[in-house]
Amino acid sequence: MSTALADTATLTRRSMTHILRSPDTIITTALMPIAFLLLFVFVFGGAIDTGAGVGADGYVDYLLPGILLITVASGVSYTAYRLFLDVQGGMVERLRSMPIARSSILWAHVLTSLAANLVAVALVIGVALLLGFRSGAGVGAWFAVAGLVALFTLALTWLAVIPGLTAKSVDAAGAFSYPLIFLPFLSSAFVPTDSMPGPVRWFAENQPVTAIVDAIRALLAGEPVGAELGLALAWMAGILVVAAGVATVLWRRRTR
């Protein structure tokens, strides 16, 4: 136990070095969400009525929370990828035969994912500011948004650990993130759900992305947050606990 923190720090430093040596992984992570941002603000945005005022300025405010979630959803695929490479390359076996805290191997990847995704999210917010995004949120609300994005990243990162440990090929390791990237489209991220037909609307209103997007949107708009915050937290905590649980079982099962 006493070495767990030191080992985690050592291994986190290692995978952060990977990212600093190839910052393209962060740029690639931010690129697709930025493309979505541009596309929706300048192409579709003029025709979308969110009820919050038509026009590019209003829509970028409406859009940003969903774009941030897409950023994280595409970013965590790199965690699966890096973990997969460690498993395939024998690094995991080497580390597991060493006198270190074994949990530090996974935690290093998780913390690296957290740092890398928060940087990518900051990049996307920077571009959104250039596109006219403005927020009346106070410091407390911004911290709450950062907390929600961090919790969302943690939940999806632990989800990414599962394919990272079990995938048979590089492509399979990253493929799990495609449905995650798609999920915001079937939510309130781009258009209000009441414009959708029955079953789609039911799905959109009862999936986690809608609750998280609504909570972040309310916080950024400086509006009071209601039940959606509790719902968002419950979804993310649930995903986090289940994913981390499954990942831990898979991790322990490697010793057989």
Partner: protein
Amino acid sequence: MSLAAAPRPAEAAVGADPAIRVAGVEKSYGTVHVLRGVDLEVARGSIHALLGANGAGKTTLIRILTTLAHADAGTAEVDGVDVARDPQRVRRAISLTGQFAAVDERLTGRENLALVARLRHLRGPAAVASAALERFGLTDAADRPVAGYSGGMRRRLDIAMSLVGDPRVVFLDEPTTGLDPEARQEVWSAVRELAAGGTTVLLTTQYLEEAEQLADRIAILHRGRILVDDTLPALKKLLPRAQVEYVEKQPSLEDVFFALTGEREPEREHEPERGPEPEPEPENTEKESDS
């Protein structure tokens, strides 16, 4: 239980306190009975080769000894510690070099070594890394990313990483599989270097020649059991005399390689110019029946 095939006359050579002691170890994966009662002792400071064909169970035994897998039955001790009872203490005494060079491609050689030094909580990881680079002739390449290393350099770095912190028992799982002959020579000298420092080495190999070159004792693992475990001269006595003379001395593909590149004289050549094609086959069949 596993001694049906041959006697073990040199049993007394193993000291009272062996570095590795394996007794009756069994292991199944699903319905496949990989290890069927393995007994093995490795003396301190010796190089012991575990020879066997693919699927003989070599890697499974190494995984059990390095705490990466649990045995279904039997006991295994490394450096006097039961691997099942106190795996973390075993990990402090050992190091594993797996079948594929487990090096971090995106770090430099120096960073790889310092990483291991930090994980072993050694003082002065930078100095430890420099010393290891020197010892394995990697100083010139020290600050280049490992992605650009040759196969032999990678393996050397891999072994150097294993030695950081001076583990008392080193496991090398097929250290030369997939390497070209020159790289294999590099690895062999690294292993000899190791044993010269008093480290106990258990290495697995599919190559009889590798075991001959390196090992003080050779154990042959076949279908989950140790068939024989002895010194090379004693093993040679077990073979029918008539066969040893000629068949084994045919030039291997490796001898041909060295003859063509002029790096080393082959021992004998029957067909000096064009003989490489038929050679590997007798060697292969021989390997299977051996192990």
